[in-house]
């Protein structure tokens, strides 16, 4: 499971789960994360899961690196993934107004945008982690044929709701933000809802995401319809 624990500064543990970025490694990270959340240790102030790392921040007033490391290494792990994680459906409009990088993607991949979209919608994606900006999910893996690098010069402002792809990953810009991913469409769904204080992020690490295509009219009427 954890291959190595070092310190990140004086108030965080840096847990390495292995070099490979794949589902198996990430599921180990997420399982550990869910177990830790379940334990609710008062000295732990934050836990950040990512592809292959888990960073555990702690309150230096209550513990220190050696003490908390020992505690973490002695945790008995339960299998919690199946209970906690869910499947989420996300509507996406790929009208040229929203697919800001359709031309770039077409020319880089030498495939028609229509085929690219078809390919993108053809499978479910797995949420490796959430973050950077509030609620932003990092999802994967997109098919080999539609993988490409990020923009040479990142956008200063990516519109809220944008769906981006880069390398084997896709994401959703939950807020307007700078960013360099290739934008293929936009979702009218609010992914981060601060009114839902218990669970403000719609997509959490370990969740499955299924994107589906909607028309411009459906997009425009989305938030009235509900």
């Amino acid at each position: 499971m954890i291959k190595n624990i070092t310190n990140l500064g004086d108030a965080a543990l840096y847990c390495d789960f292995g070099q490979e970025v794949n589902r198996a490694t990430n599921l180990n990270v997420i399982n550990f994360f869910n177990n830790l959340r379940d334990k609710n240790f008062s000295e732990i102030t934050n836990i950040s899961p990512s592809y292959n790392k888990l960073i555990i921040s702690f309150d230096l007033n209550l513990t220190n690196f050696e003490k908390i490391k020992k505690k973490i290494l002695n945790i008995e792990l339960k299998k919690l993934n199946n209970k906690i994680n869910k499947s989420v459906k996300i509507p996406v409009c790929c009208n040229e107004k929203y697919s800001l990088d359709s031309k770039r993607i077409e020319s880089k991949l030498k495939i028609s945008f229509e085929k690219i979209i078809e390919n993108f919608f053809s499978k479910d994606y797995f949420c490796y982690m959430t973050g950077f900006i509030a609620g932003m999910p990092f999802l994967g893996d997109i098919n080999q044929e539609i993988r490409l690098n990020r923009l040479e010069t990142p956008r200063v402002k990516v519109p809220k709701g944008s769906i981006g792809i880069t390398e084997q990953f896709c994401n959703i810009y939950t807020f307007e933000s700078p960013g360099g991913w290739n934008i293929i469409g936009n979702t009218p769904v609010n992914i981060f809802n601060k009114e839902n204080s218990k669970n403000p992020a719609l997509i959490n690490p370990g969740d499955k995401v299924n994107f589906y295509k909607i028309s411009t009219d459906e997009y425009k009427g989305w938030n009235e319809r509900k």
Binding site: S50, I55, F132
Partner: protein
């Protein structure tokens, strides 16, 4: 409802907002995994002192300002406030229109129509205004801290702006006028523990990192501090697999210019980490003004832990001086 608990009777009207004026408290925990950072008062010690001076609970909401602070007019019967940090401010009394020069670390009473004009922070960035009683704030994740990026916390996640009203209920406690002798010491060096990608950098660059001075650029805010002056050369890979960040982390992007993550930072990053600022020096770090120099000194983890204990003890001693 508001009238009943006195919220509507007492308020500060914002005549001038200042540059970056927000509601802050300790910050919020356990939300990194959904992309929400700690936030909270940047300079924790000055935040605590401000609340202690007006006899508030230690985790009460305060007004944080940066560089130029707000100008506020008090509406209500009477109130008590204190300002902390290295701050230049005036009090304008309605009664006689006399401009009274204010001192940080001292409590003042206000009567209806009196104004506080927070002109500037001196050779520092952040200052705090604590009001005796309870400011009417909204919580997200058990914290009122405004995070303008995620639009969460008080004031709908926005900075305090001109025309806003800061509502509060007066303290039930009788507030004595208090004064604390305290000077914000400037720090020579910011102490740093090696980061998890320390070996991504050339030997020469590692030397430079701990030997040379860097300039703090204007691209510095509650999210991060960007430095310039010496390019740190990466010899392994300018990207790592995206992973979690914590405040104080020093990342080196491809251009070689360090970025230090501050309280409102993005929670995930893909640049190698050369170091992390120790917890004991964070309050001092955030007060370094753009345009000035910064120098790093390497310390061990066990030294960092000792220094934090010392920092904490010192903070407690200061708070204990305020009875």
């Amino acid at each position: 409802m508001n009238t009943k608990d006195g919220m509507k009777e007492n308020n500060f009207e914002v005549i001038r907002s200042g540059i970056n004026t927000t509601y802050q408290d300790f910050g919020r925990k356990n939300l990194y995994h959904i992309g929400v950072p700690f936030s909270g008062a940047m300079d924790n010690r000055n935040y605590l002192i401000s609340n202690k001076l007006v006899n508030n609970k230690m985790n009460s909401a305060v007004i944080e300002f940066a560089y130029q602070g707000p100008m506020l007019k008090f509406n209500g019967e009477s109130t008590t406030f204190a300002i902390t940090g290295d701050v230049n401010f005036n009090i304008k009394r309605k009664k006689n229109s006399i401009l009274e020069k204010g001192n940080s670390y001292q409590t003042y009473n206000l009567k209806s129509g009196d104004e506080i004009d927070i002109l500037s922070t001196n050779r520092s960035v952040y200052g705090y205004l604590a009001i005796a009683g309870k400011i009417d704030v909204n919580l997200f994740g058990n914290s009122c801290s405004t995070n303008t990026k995620a639009k969460i916390g008080s004031n709908n996640g926005e900075k305090i702006k001109k025309g806003d009203k800061i509502f509060f209920s007066n303290s039930d406690n009788k507030i004595q006028i208090k004064k604390l002798n305290y000077i914000n010491t400037k720090i020579e060096q910011i102490r740093v523990i090696r980061g998890t990608n320390y070996n991504y950098f050339s030997k020469e660059s590692k030397n430079i990192f701990f030997k040379n001075e860097f300039n703090v650029t204007k691209l510095t805010d509650r999210m991060g501090m960007r430095l310039e002056g010496n390019k740190i050369k990466n010899i392994v890979d300018t990207n790592i697999k995206s992973e979690g960040l914590i405040k104080g982390t020093i990342q080196i992007p491809a251009d070689g210019n360090p970025i230090i993550m501050l309280s409102d930072h993005g929670t995930i990053g893909g640049y190698p980490k050369i170091g992390v600022v120790i917890s004991a020096d964070y309050d001092k770090l955030v007060q370094i003004v753009p345009g000035s120099k910064i120098k790093f000194k390497e310390v061990s983890l066990s030294d960092a832990e000792k220094l934090y204990k010392f920092y904490n003890l010192e903070t407690q001693n200061i708070l204990n001086q305020i009875s």
